[in-house]
C-alpha cells in the first residue's frame, strides 16, 4: 500500500533543513528503527541484514557484544551469555522476574533492579537494552549520514513508571536524545489514523513478544485522544512459546534438559508456532536429553487448545478498557491488530468474535509501531509542516497513590488521566513534635500497598516542632508527557521542601548512569569530552536561534532592560560557543535559559489568548 504520502511531491521540506529524528520500536523479540525520508516513513535496514533487529545481546569474555541476528543464532551454543527478551526485566526486581527468565539466566538479586551475570560481568537490563538501541542509533546515523537530533522510543502503554524510566535510561546510555516515550498502541494509531484519515473510535489490540496492550482512541479533526488503556505487561508471544515448549517436551521425553538443550527447545517451539500460522499441522523436532532429536507432530487444534487460556487472558483487559471508557463493543468502529503474536489464527478469531468484525491488519504488524514513532519523532524534532497540525492526548495507564496508615493506598491520580497531569494532596503529622515524614509512592489499582508497585520512598525532614495535626504537608505529583512521575513535598507553614524525580525502587541512580556512560564511552574508545562539547555546541546554537526568533517576534512583551539582558546573554553564549570548554558553554546556556524563562511564559500567555480568540470565532454560527 502507498504509505502516508505526507506532502505533495515538490512540497517536501528541503532535506538539508530537516532535523534528523527517528522512531524506535524497542521490542521484546525484535526492534526496528524508522524515519521520515522524502515525506514517507521508512524502516531502516542494517548493513547486510533486514530491517528487523532481533532484540538479543550476546556478551563475550573480552567485554564486547554481539547484537541481533548473530546473537540470536548463538542462543543455543552460549545460552547463559546470550540475553533475549530482556524487556521483561526492565525496571524489575528479582522477585518480579518471571520463571522463564529466572530459569534461563543467572539473575542476581541486588535489592533493586535485577542484574544478569554474564561472562563479561554483571549487566543491568538497562545496559542490555542500551546495546540494542546503540546498534539502531548507529544504523540510523550510517543510513541518514548525520547525527540524530533525537528519537521517539516506544514503550508498552501498560508499562509502569519504573519500566518507563528504565527505558529512558537505556536510551540515554545509548547516546540518544529522547524526544518522547510513546505508547506502542498510540504509535500504531498514529500510523493508521494519518494514513487512512480515520475519524471515530478505534481500538488497538497489541500483542507483542512479551507485553499486551489494549487502547481505545478517539480520532477526530486531527486529535488522537486516548480514552482508556489497559493491558498486561507480562503476557506476550513468549508465553505461547513457553507453553508450547512445555507441551512438546512432555510429549517427547519429559526428562530434564541442560541449558543449551532447553534453549534449543524454546527456539524450536517458536518455529513451530510460526509454522502453525500457515499450516494446520507441523512436525516439531524436539531436543531430548540423551539421543538428540525426537519428532513430535502437533496440529493447529492442539496448539490452540493448549494456549487458549492465554488468549482468554487478553480479553480481560479488553473488557476493563471498554468499561473505563464507558463504551460498548458496538461503539468501536474498528480494531487494529499490532504485534507479531497477532498473526496466530486463534488470536485473530478471538478478537473478531469479541468485536463482531474482522480486525484491521493493513499495515505490517511488525512495522506499524516504528512507523508511528517515526511520524511523531519527525514532528517533535520541529519538522512539522504547515497544515500538519495533529495533536496527541495520551493517558497514564495505572493509578498513582501514596501509602497511608495501615498499609492502605490513597489514590492521587487515577488511571486513564490525560497527561501531563498534576495533583496535590495535603497531609498532616500524627505525633506531637514529629520532625520527619516518610512518603511512599506506589502505582497500581489495588487497595493494599503490598499489592501495588513500589515506585519510591523518600523522607521530608526538618518539619518544625508542632502539636500533632499542626503541620500541613502538601505532596505534589507531576506526570509529564512521557508518563514519568516526579514528586515534591512542602510543609506549608514553613516552606520546608523536598523534591524527587522518581528514581524508582527498581531504577538506577544518576551516579550509576554517569558511571555507565563513562565506561561505555571508554569502551567504545570515544572521546567523551569531544562528544560533550559537540552536544553543548548544538544545544547552544539551538537556544541562540530560538531566543533570536522570540526577540524578533515578541520584543514587545519585554521591557527594554529585559531585552538588553537577553541580547547580552545571547552575545555571551555566542562567544563561549566559539571556544572548546563544554562546561563554560553549559553555563552560558543556563544563563540564557534563565534570562528567557519569563519571555517564554509571556509568549505562552499570548499564544493562549490568540487561541481563545480563534475559539470564539469557531463558535460563531456561520
Amino acid at each position: 500500500m502507498a504509505l502516508l504520502q505526507l506532502s505533495e511531491p515538490g512540497e517536501s521540506p528541503d532535506p538539508h533543513q530537516q532535523r534528523l529524528a527517528v522512531g524506535i520500536d524497542l521490542g521484546t523479540t525484535n526492534s526496528l528503527v524508522a524515519t521520515i525520508r522524502h515525506a514517507v516513513p521508512e524502516c531502516l535496514a542494517g548493513d547486510g541484514c533486514g530491517i528487523i533487529l532481533p532484540s538479543v545481546v550476546r556478551y563475550q569474555k573480552d567485554g564486547s557484544t554481539i547484537v541481533g541476528q548473530a546473537a540470536l543464532a548463538a542462543q543455543t551454543i552460549d545460552p547463559r551469555n546470550t540475553i533475549a527478551s530482556v524487556k521483561r526485566l526492565m525496571g524489575r526486581g528479582l522477585a518480579d522476574a518471571d520463571a522463564g527468565m529466572r530459569g534461563r539466566y543467572d539473575l542476581v538479586d541486588t535489592g533493586d533492579m535485577v542484574r544478569i551475570n554474564t561472562v563479561a560481568g554483571q549487566r543491568t537490563p538497562v545496559e542490555v537494552s542500551s546495546e540494542i538501541l546503540r546498534v539502531l542509533r548507529e544504523r540510523a546515523e550510517a543510513s541518514l549520514g548525520d547525527e540524530l537530533v533525537g528519537a521517539v522510543i516506544t514503550v508498552p502503554a501498560y508499562f509502569d513508571d519504573a519500566q518507563r524510566q528504565a527505558t529512558k535510561d537505556a536510551a540515554r546510555l545509548a547516546g540518544l536524545n529522547v524526544l518522547r516515550l510513546l505508547n506502542e498502541p498510540t504509535a500504531a494509531a498514529i500510523a493508521y489514523g494519518l494514513d487512512e484519515g480515520a475519524e471515530g473510535i478505534y481500538a488497538v489490540y497489541d500483542l507483542g513478544g512479551g507485553t499486551f496492550d489494549f487502547s481505545i482512541l478517539r480520532l477526530s479533526r486531527g486529535v488522537f485522544e486516548v480514552m482508556a488503556t489497559s493491558g498486561d505487561s507480562s503476557l506476550g508471544g513468549d508465553d505461547f512459546d513457553e507453553a508450547l515448549a512445555a507441551w512438546l517436551h512432555k510429549k517427547a521425553s519429559g526428562v530434564d534438559l541442560d541449558c543449551s538443550k532447553s534453549r534449543a527447545l524454546l527456539v524450536e517451539a517458536r518455529r513451530v508456532k510460526e509454522a502453525l500460522t500457515l499450516s494446520a499441522e507441523c512436525v516439531a523436532r524436539v531436543p531430548v536429553a540423551a539421543d538428540g532429536i525426537k519428532d513430535v507432530t502437533i496440529t493447529l487444534g492442539e496448539f490452540h487448545e493448549l494456549t487458549q487460556a492465554l488468549v482468554e487472558r487478553t480479553l480481560q483487559p479488553v473488557r476493563k478498557a471498554l468499561r473505563d471508557a464507558a463504551l460498548k463493543v458496538a461503539d468501536i468502529q474498528a480494531v487494529v491488530l499490532v504485534g507479531g503474536a497477532t498473526r496466530m489464527p486463534h488470536v485473530r478469531s478471538a478478537v473478531a468474535k469479541m468485536f463482531g468484525r474482522e480486525p484491521y491488519t493493513d499495515i505490517d504488524p511488525d512495522k506499524v509501531v516504528a512507523i508511528g514513532a517515526a511520524i511523531q519523532a519527525n514532528v517533535l524534532a520541529g519538522n512539522r509542516r504547515p497544515g500538519e497540525d495533529w495533536l496527541l492526548l495520551d493517558v497514564i495507564p495505572l493509578s498513582l497513590g501514596l501509602e497511608m496508615m495501615g498499609g492502605l493506598t490513597e489514590k492521587i491520580i487515577p488511571r486513564n488521566s490525560t497527561i501531563p497531569v498534576s495533583k496535590a494532596q495535603d497531609f498532616t503529622t500524627y505525633k506531637d513534635g514529629q520532625s520527619a515524614m516518610a512518603i511512599h509512592v506506589v502505582q497500581g489499582e489495588r487497595e493494599l500497598v503490598q499489592d501495588c508497585r513500589s515506585l519510591a520512598r523518600f523522607e521530608l525532614r526538618g518539619i518544625p516542632p508542632m502539636p500533632a495535626g499542626g503541620a500541613r504537608i502538601r505532596v505534589t505529583f507531576q506526570v509529564d508527557a512521557d508518563g514519568l512521575l516526579s514528586v515534591s513535598a512542602r510543609e506549608q507553614t514553613t516552606g520546608v521542601e523536598s523534591h524527587v524525580t522518581v528514581k524508582p525502587s527498581y531504577g538506577l541512580s544518576d551516579d550509576e548512569i554517569t558511571g555507565m556512560l563513562k565506561a561505555g564511552f571508554e569502551h567504545a574508545a570515544e572521546d567523551m569530552q569531544a562528544r560533550a562539547l559537540r552536544e553543548q555546541q548544538v544545544e547552544a546554537e539551538r537556544l541562540i536561534e530560538a531566543a533570536r526568533q522570540a526577540l524578533i517576534e515578541d520584543a514587545g512583551l519585554l521591557s527594554s532592560n529585559e531585552q538588553a539582558g537577553i541580547e547580552a546573554a545571547i552575545k555571551r553564549l555566542g562567544e563561549l560557543n566559539l571556544g572548546n570548554d563544554h562546561l563554560a558553554i553549559k553555563a552560558g546556556i543556563d544563563a540564557l535559559s534563565a534570562s528567557t524563562g519569563e519571555l517564554a511564559a509571556r509568549r505562552m500567555d499570548k499564544a493562549i489568548r490568540q487561541a481563545l480568540t480563534g475559539n470564539r470565532i469557531d463558535a460563531l454560527p456561520l
Binding site: L179, V421, S422, G597, A600, M604, D618
Partner: protein
C-alpha cells in the same frame, strides 16, 4: 492561579455547552501541548508542561457536572467537605441506606445492578438540573451545596455498582 472558565473563554456559570468546551480545550492544547515544544529550549518545555497540565485539569473539572459545581461553589467561598454527613435531610439519609442495601442485595445479579445504575443516573440528572437552578438562577448556595453533597454520595455509590459489575464480568 489561572481561572478555568476564562482559560477556555467561557462565561463562569454551571450551564455549559460541552461541544464549545471541547473545542476550546483542543484549541488551548494545540497551543501549549509539550509535543509542540519538544525541540525548544528547556525553559519553554517547562512552561508548556505547566500550561498543558492546567488545561487538562481545567477540562477535567469543567467537563464533569459535579466537579464543575464544586469548583463554582469553591470560587464562591463554599468548600464542601466530602466526609461531613450532617446537615443532610433525614429523608436523604434514609434513602442512602436503602440504596446501599439494594446494591448489597444485587451484588451477584448483573441485571439488577444495571437497573439500579439507571435509576441512580436518572435521579442524578434531575438533581443536576436543580443544581443549575440553584447556582445560575436562584443563587442559593446553601441549597446548591446540599445537592452537591448528595450527588457526591450518589457518584460514590455508582462507582461501587461499577466495581460490582466489573467483578461479575470477569
Amino acid at each position: 492561579m489561572q481561572e478555568y472558565f476564562s482559560l477556555f473563554g467561557l462565561p463562569e456559570r454551571f450551564a455549559i455547552d460541552p461541544a464549545q468546551l471541547e473545542v476550546a480545550y483542543r484549541n488551548v492544547q494545540a497551543q501549549v501541548h509539550p509535543d509542540r515544544f519538544a525541540h525548544r529550549p528547556e525553559a519553554e518545555r517547562r512552561v508548556a508542561m505547566q500550561w498543558a497540565t492546567l488545561a487538562n485539569e481545567a477540562f477535567r473539572t469543567l467537563k464533569n457536572p459535579l466537579a464543575r459545581a464544586r469548583y463554582l461553589l469553591s470560587r464562591r467561598g463554599v468548600e464542601i467537605d466530602a466526609e461531613r454527613n450532617n446537615g443532610m435531610s433525614h429523608a436523604f439519609l434514609m434513602q442512602q441506606m436503602e440504596w446501599r442495601e439494594s446494591v448489597e442485595e444485587a451484588a451477584d445479579d448483573a441485571e439488577a445492578l444495571q437497573r439500579l445504575e439507571r435509576d441512580l443516573a436518572r435521579d442524578e440528572r434531575v438533581m443536576l438540573d436543580d443544581v443549575k437552578h440553584a447556582i445560575d438562577e436562584e443563587v442559593d448556595l446553601v441549597q446548591a451545596s446540599e445537592l452537591v453533597r448528595r450527588l457526591m454520595f450518589m457518584e460514590k455509590l455508582r462507582r461501587e455498582i461499577d466495581e460490582a459489575l466489573a467483578l461479575l464480568e470477569n
